[in-house]
């Protein structure tokens, strides 16, 4: 693993040199970047009016301390090696104001990426829940919905107990989210309920370059079934910032599908986290679809806490220009006999930079874990870059684990075969790219969502040609 190698290098260098290096590092830590200073000011100004009682205020303060201590993560932090947020986030935008009528009007058509898939939409504009744009009427039996801002204001004890228990407190992106969270969805699916209509959380950024911190909490109880879709969209050419976190409890025998669509505007900075704990004999599928944003960091933290669960964690990324998209995944197998499949595909054009870091951890008690991770990047240009870092940490002796990573260009033999049948070059490439991503997209169980995403792929390819 790269981290070990780096330590060795330090040991090999002379003591004096490493002292110099450490002093230098300590100096860098003291120096706050403009963005770090702005975030500290933002928190100082906002903390009094941020929602929540004393228990929440305490959580916010503790989380902010993590950020104050660590600063924005940079390339020397192994987990952020390829996404140097300190360098990529030049400034911190002010917290978004509540959306005005114009912003709400613009948000009406957002989330159209799903085509005609029928969903229950919960719309957030600039990080704030907008009930009048949302479908909150006639809830199915067993479904409870609310906004995080309301739940925080009400000091809902159930919420206070759950919030922040799943997301890793030491992760700076999560810490900032906890410190500054404004609104989000709070959803409960009662034991044994099946919610037919997918829930669609639509996060829309407004026209101003502002920052929103959204936090959602979803509890799916034993044997319940639900599909949860998040889409993140916003205007092009506006350098807004989004930090979104979702904590998801998947109960025993529950069946949960999660799809996140990152279709942010061209200049957006998007950091989002899915943190989930999955119970026994559950089914869990997660899919991330990334096409938007200037800088995207998508984090998944999964904990397999009950035995016999089957999970599919997949993703497809299509980026071009100078886009940067990082998927960082930690699948932590604590319980025995779980199966996880991780398949991440990225298509990189122009000078785009794709990152995949995937770590599978198998704890000593997690015997008979069956975990396989595959990541593949397809480079469409000489200047695109893919960094893949798969890691396995296995502490049990009776497991089946594997990982694979490939980076390559379009196979010229296949392209020639298609062209020899009369298919023009651009169309031949598009077919092969669709096939490449298809393997990941096929993991989505909902046919309508699958088709809508493949339509998005086709649209991206058309725009490319």
């Amino acid at each position: 693993m790269p981290s070990i190698r780096r330590k060795r290098r330090l040991e090999l260098s002379s003591l004096a040199a490493s002292e110099v290096e450490m002093n230098a590092m300590a100096d860098v830590k003291v120096m706050k970047t403009a963005a770090e200073t702005a975030l500290a000011q933002e928190f100082a100004q906002a903390r009094a009016r941020l929602a929540g009682g004393p228990a929440i205020a305490e959580k916010r303060a503790a989380a902010f301390d993590v950020f104050a201590r660590e600063g924005l993560p940079h390339r020397r932090v192994e987990d952020w090696k390829y996404t140097d947020l300190r360098a990529l986030m030049r400034e911190a935008k002010p917290l978004a104001s509540p959306p005005d009528a114009a912003a709400k009007a613009r948000a009406k058509t957002a989330g159209a990426v799903l085509g005609d898939v029928e969903t229950r939409r919960l719309v957030f504009v600039d990080g704030a829940f907008v009930p009048e744009l949302s479908d909150v009427a006639a809830l199915e039996k067993g479904l409870t919905l609310g906004s995080l801002a309301d739940a925080l204001a009400d000091n809902d004890p159930a919420l206070t107990a759950h919030l922040g228990t799943l997301a890793p407190a030491s992760d700076v992106a999560v810490a900032l989210n906890t410190a500054l969270m404004g609104d989000g969805a709070v959803i409960r699916v009662a034991a044994g309920s099946t919610i037919e209509r997918p829930l669609h959380l639509v996060f829309v950024a407004g026209a101003k370059p502002a920052a929103s911190f959204v936090r959602s909490l979803v509890v799916v109880e034993q044997g319940a079934r639900v599909m949860l879709i998040e889409s993140h969209v916003g205007p092009a050419a506006t350098d807004y910032q989004v930090n979104a976190a979702l904590e998801l409890f998947v109960g025993d025998e529950a069946h949960v599908d999660h799809v996140k669509i990152i279709g942010e505007g061209s200049d957006a900075l998007h950091v989002s986290t899915l943190a989930t704990v999955i119970g026994a004999r559950a089914r869990f599928n997660a899919f991330t679809f990334t096409t938007g944003g200037a800088v995207v960091r998508n984090q998944l933290f999964l904990k397999f806490d009950g035995e016999g669960t089957v999970a599919g964690i997949r993703g497809a990324t299509l980026i071009k220009g100078k886009q940067h998209a990082d998927t960082t995944l930690v699948a932590n197998h604590i319980a025995r006999g779980c199966q996880s499949r991780e398949v991440f595909k990225s298509v990189l054009d122009g000078e785009a930079h794709g990152v995949f870091q995937g770590r599978i951890i198998v704890k000593p008690g997690a015997q008979q874990t069956d975990a396989k991770m595959m990541t593949r990047a397809l480079l469409l240009s000489d200047r695109a870059e893919a960094d893949n870092k798969p890691e396995l940490e296995i502490f049990a002796d009776d497991v089946q684990c594997g990982h694979g990573a490939t980076v390559g260009a379009i196979d010229p033999e296949l392209k020639f075969y298609l062209m020899a049948r009369g298919i023009p070059a651009a169309e031949a490439e598009a077919l092969l790219i669709q096939a490449f991503l298809g393997e990941a997209v096929e993991g989505i169980e909902h046919a309508g969502v699958r088709e809508a995403l493949m339509d998005q792929v086709a649209a991206w390819l058309k725009a490319r040609a």
């Binding site: 033999e413 296949l414 020899a420 049948r421 009369g422 023009p424 096939a435």
Partner: protein
């Protein structure tokens, strides 16, 4: 009139000359067989005609229906009516056979200024063609050639040919790896398509295929040149005597 006219063609792969002054004229409606030992340039000729990267013509000319094919990309050659049945058809995981066939057919039609086929029209046409060739629907539901046996892959090539209705089909060792039953199916497919408007260049190492696809003209290719041309009886002669004398002739 000449549908395909090759004049003094020289071509190389990785700087090595493989085709060394090849001459060939195929008229509309004719079936020509090109036979030759391994390494004589048979497959190279096929790829040069189809326009594969790395198969570089260095001099001479190839006219298809009077047009210089070296000015045309592979897809343009296909749309003009040139078809290559691959010796080793490729597997394309994730691309459904039907999507592949429809995209190819409609791309060609579009390029020729013809209306694209609607989905029902296309399905009807594929079913008809598949039925004639004895291809089961199940094969069409899979990804292109994925999990196909050697025989199925070759049959799929013939299906594509039948669907795309080229004016000239080049069959590159379509008989290789086929048992006698598969060979008959492939040959039947070709014979069904024979007609005054369509020509074939059948490249093969063995005479066996020519029992089923009876050629009008047989050529012997050796060391990058046509060294002998005759009628269908030439194939039998080669079968009996082998290629040795022609290899010497070409070397001389």
């Amino acid at each position: 009139m000449a549908l395909l006219e090759i004049k003094n063609l020289h071509a190389e792969i990785d700087g090595k000359e493989i085709i060394k002054g090849l001459e060939l004229t195929v008229n509309a409606g004719e079936v020509h067989a090109i036979m030759g030992p391994n390494g004589s340039g048979k497959s190279t000729l096929a790829y040069v005609l189809a326009g594969k990267d790395g198969y570089q013509p260095t001099s001479g000319e190839v006219r298809f229906d009077g047009k210089n094919i070296f000015d045309m990309a592979p897809d343009e050659r296909a749309a003009a009516g040139l078809f290559l049945a691959f010796q080793y058809p490729l597997e394309i995981p994730g691309v459904a056979t039907m999507t592949f066939l429809r995209t190819a057919l409609n791309a060609q039609r579009k390029k020729r200024g013809e209306a694209e086929l609607s989905t029902p029209e296309f399905l009807k046409k594929v079913r008809e063609v598949a039925k004639k060739l004895g291809i089961e629907q199940e094969m069409l539901r899979r990804a292109v050639n994925v999990g196909f046996s050697g025989g199925e892959k070759k049959r799929n090539e013939i299906l594509q040919m039948a669907l795309l209705e080229p004016r000239l089909a080049v069959l590159d060792e379509t008989d290789s790896g086929l048992d006698i039953d598969a060979l008959k199916i492939v040959a039947d497919g070709v014979n069904q398509l024979r007609g005054p408007g369509r020509s074939f260049v059948v490249i093969t190492h063995y005479q066996r295929l020519l029992n089923y696809i009876v050629p009008d003209v047989v050529h012997v290719l050796s060391r990058g040149r046509i060294v002998k041309t005759g009628g269908k009886e030439l194939a039998l002669e080669l079968e009996a005597r082998g290629y040795a004398e022609y290899q010497e002739e070409a070397a001389a």
